[in-house]
Symmetry: D2
Subunit: 335 residues, 4 copies
């Protein structure tokens, strides 16, 4: 993201409300070495790896969702992986001054593939994905085969096959603050964030997450070099990155579910099953947001979103599914 793209940030919610936005940010490194043990649950019971102040920048070395153990196309996911020990998370990062009822803003500034010859990994895991019987949608059918795909990539392209090259569209799959008392595996999204798999959550986006414990306890991981809506086979192009984020703290802004902002739209995010419940949550939060902060009448907002609301399907493969409901900022301007 070059400097030009940054200009909208000055009018963002984070810029208007963030306690540390105008500070000169201190930059922290969260290397693999500093991280030590990665985490597979998001909760209040793990030891902090870093403490930052609102407005600070953090450069994070993320691992891929398989923690690098799927090295060749001959590897079998069932032999290399054991649930729930997948989707390793960096963190928890403590944000100074954060208390229940606040909101943390996470601006993703940059995502760079890590390593000398960066490759991403996609695979089919038995009884995981949208077009197969699963652990929860339990069937007696034989599972689909295990297939692994290792994919060369750089900051422009993902070389899917000799035939198809896809644009590099990096984003963070799993971004979370700690729940109040639960500790939730990193495969599951919910109102704390978690494994949302939203392609919008890439460089140039700000994600807003509700603080439920003192210090907020930020977790981040699960970088995707690209991903289609719904992540239909259950796996994106998973890869290790150096991801640069800037975090801020919005005191007293209590939100119930994660929210996202980009240059041209805002989005509320819901995660639930069945999928219509995820969409209901997202749209209700968006209606409430428009009423609380953009001077809309509730029924006007509801009926207007029926004309111009935009839905992004994050995933429908995780233990809960994720939907974002958004609206263009141009429709939010006050008269």
């Amino acid at each position: 993201m070059d400097a030009t793209d940054m200009s909208w940030l000055e009018t963002s919610i984070a810029a208007r409300k963030g306690a540390g936005w105008s500070r000169k940010p201190e930059t922290h490194e969260l290397t693999e070495a500093k991280q030590g043990r990665f985490h597979y649950t998001i909760g209040p019971y793990s030891d902090p790896v870093l403490t930052v102040r609102p407005g600070d920048r953090i450069v994070v070395e993320t691992r891929d969702a398989f923690e690098g153990v799927i090295k060749t196309e001959q590897d079998k996911p069932t032999q290399k992986l054991r649930l729930p020990f997948v989707n390793p998370q960096n963190g928890p990062i403590m944000i100074e001054g954060a208390e229940r009822g606040d909101t943390v803003a996470v601006l993703i500034e940059q995502m760079v593939p890590r390593g000398p010859n960066p490759r991403g990994t996609c695979c089919m895991i038995p009884e995981f994905g949208a077009l197969t019987g699963t652990y929860y949608t339990a069937t007696l059918n034989d599972p689909l085969p295990e297939v692994v795909r290792k994919v060369d990539l750089d900051e422009q392209w993902v070389k899917w096959t000799d035939r198809v090259t896809l644009p590099y569209k990096p984003h963070i799959g799993t971004l979370s603050l700690s729940p109040e008392i639960d500790s939730i595996n990193s495969l599951t999204p919910d109102n704390h964030g978690g494994n949302m798999d939203l392609p919008d959550m890439g460089p140039g986006s700000i994600t807003y997450l509700p603080v439920r414990t003192a210090g907020a306890r930020l977790f981040i991981g699960d970088a995707h070099a690209c991903q289609g809506d719904g992540e239909v086979c259950g796996v994106a192009v998973e890869y290790p990155t150096v991801t640069t984020i800037r975090v801020d703290l919005i005191k007293g802004w209590a939100i119930e579910w994660p929210r996202l902002e980009r240059e041209d739209f805002i989005m509320a995010i819901g995660s639930a099953r069945p999928l219509e419940d995820a969409a209901r949550i997202a749209y209700r939060e968006l209606v409430r947001w428009m009423v609380a902060e953009y001077d809309f009448d509730q029924w006007d907002a509801y009926m207007m979103l029926s004309q111009c609301g935009r839905v992004r399907l994050g995933n429908f493969v995780d233990p809960k599914y994720t939907v974002g409901a958004g609206i263009l900022k141009t429709y939010l301007r006050k008269p």
Copy 2:
């Protein structure tokens, strides 16, 4: 749609496979008078109003989804409407030579608001919509209020309120061929088409529908001047139009669910509850399509859609919900 936009049509599936594509089309008028009684079910039991040949053009006078009875913002939907007598359909139009196992292509050429001072109608109908208890998601809560919005519109804009003006993005909400033996109310989408509410189904799109009875029996109605993803309050900007379509017949191309083509993408369409099942159907059909006609290996198609598939939520308010799963044509090119 001006002549320039039309050029891609020459490479469309309809152009390649349609029996009547290269014919000089005859143009038929399906006026209100010629239609006579509109229909509220899609099935094999109604009398044809028109018979056309593959490649013909039809200019259809559609009524709005409330058949014009909601005239002012003081009207009460519950007093003016009685289910299942809503969403009136033009048709059935017979297509010469169509037999079970064929596919009909419907190109939407143009949608023009009808009447001297065209207005659209949106409203909140008790126990209908996504953010309320409904007939099927039965609750004991008091219903939401009845609210009616009458909206001025033209071929460029929809004047939602003094504050917000939305672009005119017309599309057909309900497009169907007859099921084999069922006759299905026009509120419900399924594998015959029906009330899909996909914003993509506007001018410049071609919809492919499976033929299940002799003559195909095409129904069309439910024009929207614009609509957000999901049609969250249950109602779009409903309005009467003059809609121009061109129909063609693809002999021996047997599809199971509706499909859609635009200049830059193809899309498979599924309708079901819960919403994840609609998405599963759409994505499975898209995988199968890529395998059958674009030389993809099944697992490669499945995993690749996990990286570049695009999902459109039609509606999640009807008796069944609709999802389209698409892929850019650029990724389908053969090496």
Copy 3:
């Protein structure tokens, strides 16, 4: 059902409200020959086979759900069946005087296996059933195998295998009046009745169905010699019967969904997807019923059903799923 069991009928809803209950019933025969063509859709577009008066008895020769074409365990369902031509229905039977807003009561008096050496049929049909990917829960897994089981039975026992003998517990799987304008395939239950697959709907039960067209248009079929909750593999022990019913007409009793009464309980029936919606419909109807006719306060009824409501899962394999929510009559007694 012997004479003793019949005694409770005199206190049934049908006895209290039925127009023809006290009439001496005329008995009609609806043989296969008289039926002629069986029906695969339930709707207003088929020709009546019989007209009866409220209170009359009808002796119906039903076919099994596969219309007898699966004759041996070597038959392949996919070779013998073609959807939607399964689950053949007797009818429509017209009930004199029935108009929209009335209710028809159907007392099942007796179900006797038909034929010299009666056998039932169970089978596994690819992509049908609860523990497999299906047409709607679309997966890419290989289908389950086709397996056919032919089962000897009599009026006491179903000889499932050498190892297991099950009690004969006959019931009607599909019982319907016509929808107002739709014609719905006989595989799908909804507010008109249809393929509910409730084991309670056997001899000694009265089913109440809402009248939506003049004459009511009663359809009946799909006899099961026994069935577990949910009909998990998609098929019960399907068999041909001579089924004796008595029909009555309750003028001006407008119900929205089917209801059922047995000696000791009443039950409201909902059909929808996802399954929780079927349960919501059933319980809401039961609450409303208790309020309207048994002098309960709405919130008291709701909270009390949370303590003593009883749920029967009909099926979760059809295009819509069916749940019955019931309460013992003993808790309905007025003080």
Copy 4:
């Protein structure tokens, strides 16, 4: 439960497989004082309150689901309760020798109301329950009213109202071992047990739970004096008890989901959303159980359950819903 009822236990799975069944049990008291702080999450991060040996008896003082704070019918749940601090659990109780891959058996011997004038509590909590919009099935409707009912009860009867008295049918709503790394709030059932709300889980039942951490970490709470199928309003007759259980350890019996045994049937238990997925899990587990331990062919088990399977709806109000699928032991007898 008197001595006579106990006799079947000698043939139970626990008796055949349990490491401590034939030991003379030591009896432990887990009083409120000994418990100290009750728990609202089920996980590996809390401090044990007791360690027992396989076969031991534990007498537990449970609190009601509201921890006793709803004292009168004038109390407002929204003023007295704060999520997630509801449904307090006793435990964790460590079982000596338990390791991942084992199973713990919990026999409920007795449940006695606690306190001098025992009363139960039922209430309606805004946006909680099956017939209302909820946190996940998000709607814009006004919430239902808050209603509280305090109910006298004893070991025979629950005095619901002057009009209706219900039988005392006690059971444990929430029974769990710890997940491997997650810590899950006590409102949510899943494969670790949790808030299953199965009326079958009362005195005379044995529940089998999969061990996922060393020592098993047993939690117990949420006693109901009675409950209808589905717990439709979201709350049963919640009350404090003295509950006597006996725990045993089955080494090397690895189960994936909870199971239950009573004198005449066995049951597999699934928890998920949507509700059909809970039923799918339960039935698949039951098929697998019949194949692994009762010598059934897989397809025979599947088709036979379609004829004689029995479904219990636990609840469809929690963050995940619970279904039990069972079969009579009489059908499991080997030839």
